[in-house]
């Protein structure tokens, strides 16, 4: 297991670094690779002095304070959503579970929209107001979705999807209502429903980092339990697992990680769905591998998705959620088709 993790993980990290180098070069302002390299090296303590400043201040700002933080933030958001998706799928034993389809993202965006609408962005808890509100509304939504979907103690795939869709449209309507009520020429709230990483500096990454690190490690620590869940909840219980307790804590932590990501980026769908399934196809169903590799995969996926979002139309932005939906929705349809034929992504799913 450890050797395989090392192999896949090493490859993933390498890809991540390569992607970082490539995506750093892409932007609306043309910058030669050599200069970007020098700008980065100049910042490093010790060897910085070997790279004298031959660029103007604006170029350094573009690389260090616009491009780099945005790429790093994309990686963090992607990792957060993918890990949360893998965890949801693990404890719910449902191949189509993901923060978006379960309505958690919409729930979080409602919280964010309320905060924006009433101008409370930094009220009470400072910069933590938005993520925490997003968390509370996200967690409430998940509770409602699970309650709606539960059928004699089971969570059938279709029931869960329907409950998720119902909550999504309902919450979406509220968010749309709020954005209709705000009379500005451009709608800030609308941004939450489409997702974007534009104009995000390092502070956003700093807010998100602890959630991703601690949440991700916690979920990884529960990977063994998720493997047992795959055998069915009763078997898992017979094997000595506190199924209800584990399920609740994992769901809670995954929701928290999702909400933190949504609070900085808005709703970005399908990441938590596509990435874990891709990883399953590559590395198999073992959650001890799946959780960390999903984090890497999610980071890679969103890094590239965001690069497309900011570069496909030249200077104009495409909402990030649009890009991930273009990639994700067909994939979702494929999975739904497969689960209909009774062969889920892996392991034994309960339908």
């Amino acid at each position: 297991m450890i050797r395989r993790l090392g192999g896949y993980g090493g490859a993933g990290v390498l890809l991540l670094l390569l992607s970082l180098i490539f995506t750093l070069r892409i932007g609306s302002v043309e910058l030669p690779a050599g200069r970007i390299f020098s700008i980065l090296m100049h910042e490093l303590p010790g060897i910085g002095k070997w790279f004298p400043q031959i660029w103007d201040a604006g170029e350094a700002q573009i690389v260090l304070k616009v491009r780099l933080p945005r790429i790093v933030l994309a990686a963090l958001v992607g990792a957060a959503l993918a890990v949360a998706g893998a965890a949801f799928q693990g404890v719910l034993r449902n191949p189509l579970a993901d923060p978006f389809t379960l309505g958690v993202s919409s729930g979080s965006s409602l919280g964010a929209a309320l905060i924006i609408f009433f101008g409370l962005r930094t009220a009470l808890l400072g910069q933590w107001t938005l993520p925490l509100t997003a968390f509370v509304t996200g967690a409430l939504t998940l509770t409602i979705v699970l309650a709606l979907a539960r059928d004699r103690g089971k969570l059938p795939i279709y029931g869960l999807l329907l409950a998720g869709v119902v909550m999504q449209s309902f919450l979406g309507a509220i968010v749309t209502f709020l954005s209709a009520m705000s009379d500005r020429p451009v709608n800030e709230i609308l941004f939450w429903t489409m997702g974007s990483l534009n104009l995000r500096g390092w502070s956003y990454s700093l807010v998100l980092l602890p959630y991703v690190l601690i949440g991700g490690l916690f979920l990884w620590a529960n990977a063994g339990a998720m493997n047992l869940f795959a055998l069915g909840e009763r078997r898992a219980g017979q094997l000595g697992l506190n199924t209800e307790g584990t399920k609740m804590t994992v769901l809670l932590v995954a929701t928290l990680v999702t909400a933190a990501a949504v609070s900085v980026s808005g709703v970005i769908g399908f990441v938590g769905l596509i990435v874990p399934h891709m990883i399953r196809l590559i590395a198999g169903p073992d959650y001890r591998l799946l959780i960390p590799l999903s984090a890497l995969g999610g980071a890679l996926f969103l890094m590239w998705a965001d690069t497309l979002a900011r570069s496909l139309l030249g200077g104009a932005e495409i909402p990030l959620g649009v890009i991930t939906a273009f990639a994700g929705a067909p994939f979702f349809a494929l999975l739904l088709q497969r689960s209909k034929r009774g062969k889920g992504g892996s392991g034994s799913w309960i339908g």
């Binding site: 500005r184 800030e188 200077g315």
Partner: protein, 360 residues
């Protein structure tokens, strides 16, 4: 087709409300049924009447050919200015082509006017038409008297209120799309749309308002003042050295800027400055890289919705000249975004922010 669809929707809505009301009034089921049937018949006649009416107003066949000729002709602007200079008294019936390419005929100066955009309301008030205005949009807040006028809806129009106001003319602007204009015409309303693209268009449109409402003298006072403002700024802008021309960044909604094709961009270029976002068109999300590279000298932001701190604190923006030298100025949104009589005041405000003390 679309107009007909909307009309049906209206009727459905009406039927729904009347239906519930009558059920409440009538305890017996049969009675309710007879009443409903009666109402249905009534509605049928009403809708037939409405159809007939709409045909007489927006007669579909003849306008088609006229629309084509109207599109070929440059715009409403050219002939109206001539008219203003020629006569200060409007001769009715007056036929003008509006921005949708439809010919609208006025048999007399309209006695009841509904205005569905802030800019139009401002123009009409500037011509002293306070008494004639019987309805404004929810967003109309200038002058003070506009606030107490009956409201006809915002982005979603309150069609029933508009019809009930029985206006002789409904003035609409760019925000009211052509399909909505058509559906209003389908309800038998006389609708005239303005859609100015430039400062010059705005001035010409005000002259047109004067012509339609027989207020040409008043209109001339307004347009003369606007032209004088514009000329003052143009002269001052021409005296600025090429090397001293400033680059300006606009933020009139958090995280969004304004490029070509908007009035704000024209105000910048008329002031002899360069819009930092002139590679873009219309409203677009801020491309931080491009703005940092353009290195604007001055930042103008919306007084209503933008907190300058968010611009200054933005990652990587500290190196921008305007931020370094703290040259950020709040601009009254309504002055620079409404194509009305105060647009030239907006121009002066913008010019003064960019080049302080350059105006005499």
């Amino acid at each position: 087709m679309k107009a007909a669809g909307n009309r049906n929707k209206e009727i459905d809505k009406e039927r729904f409300y009347r239906g519930t009301a009558s059920v409440e009034a009538a305890p017996g089921r049969n009675r309710a049924k007879t009443i409903l049937t009666g109402i249905a018949a009534l509605l049928l006649t009403l809708s037939l009447a409405a159809c007939g009416q709409s045909q007489s107003v927006a007669a579909p066949e003849p306008t088609k050919t006229e629309t084509q000729t109207a599109e070929q002709a440059p715009a409403e602007a050219a002939d109206t200015t001539e008219a203003v200079e020629a006569a200060s008294q409007t001769v009715y019936p007056l036929t003008l082509t509006d921005a949708t390419g439809t010919e609208v005929t006025f048999d007399a100066a309209p006695a009841k006017i509904v205005s569905l955009a802030p800019s139009e309301t401002e123009s009409l008030f500037a011509l002293g038409l306070d008494e004639q205005i019987v309805g404004v949009s929810d967003n109309d807040d200038y002058p003070e008297a506009a606030k107490s006028k009956p409201k006809m809806g915002g982005f979603e129009l309150n069609t029933e209120a508009i019809v009930a106001a029985q206006p002789d003319i409904v003035f609409v602007a760019d925000v009211t799309d052509d399909a909505t204009v058509e559906s209003l015409r389908g309800l038998g309303l006389n609708v005239f749309k303005f859609n100015p693209d430039t400062l010059e268009d705005v001035i010409n449109d005000i002259a047109t308002y004067g012509e339609i409402t027989d207020r040409q003298e008043e209109a001339k006072d307004v347009t003369d003042k606007m032209r004088a403002d514009m000329e003052k700024v143009r002269t001052a802008a021409a005296s600025i050295d090429e090397a001293d021309r400033k680059t300006v960044y606009l933020e009139f909604s958090p995280g969004w800027t304004v490029g070509k094709g908007e009035f704000m961009d024209e105000l910048i270029s008329t002031s002899g400055a360069i819009n930092a976002a002139n590679a873009t068109t219309g409203w677009s999300e801020v491309d931080a890289e491009a703005i940092i590279q353009a290195d604007p000298d001055v930042i103008l932001y919306s007084q209503l919705s933008v907190d300058p701190k968010t611009i200054k604190d933005r990652s990587g923006w500290a190196a921008i000249a305007a931020v370094e030298n703290d040259r950020l100025f709040a601009i009254d949104d309504n002055l620079v975004s409404r194509p009305g009589p105060r647009l030239s005041e907006g121009l002066i405000e913008v010019f003064n922010a960019i080049y302080p003390d350059a105006l005499q």
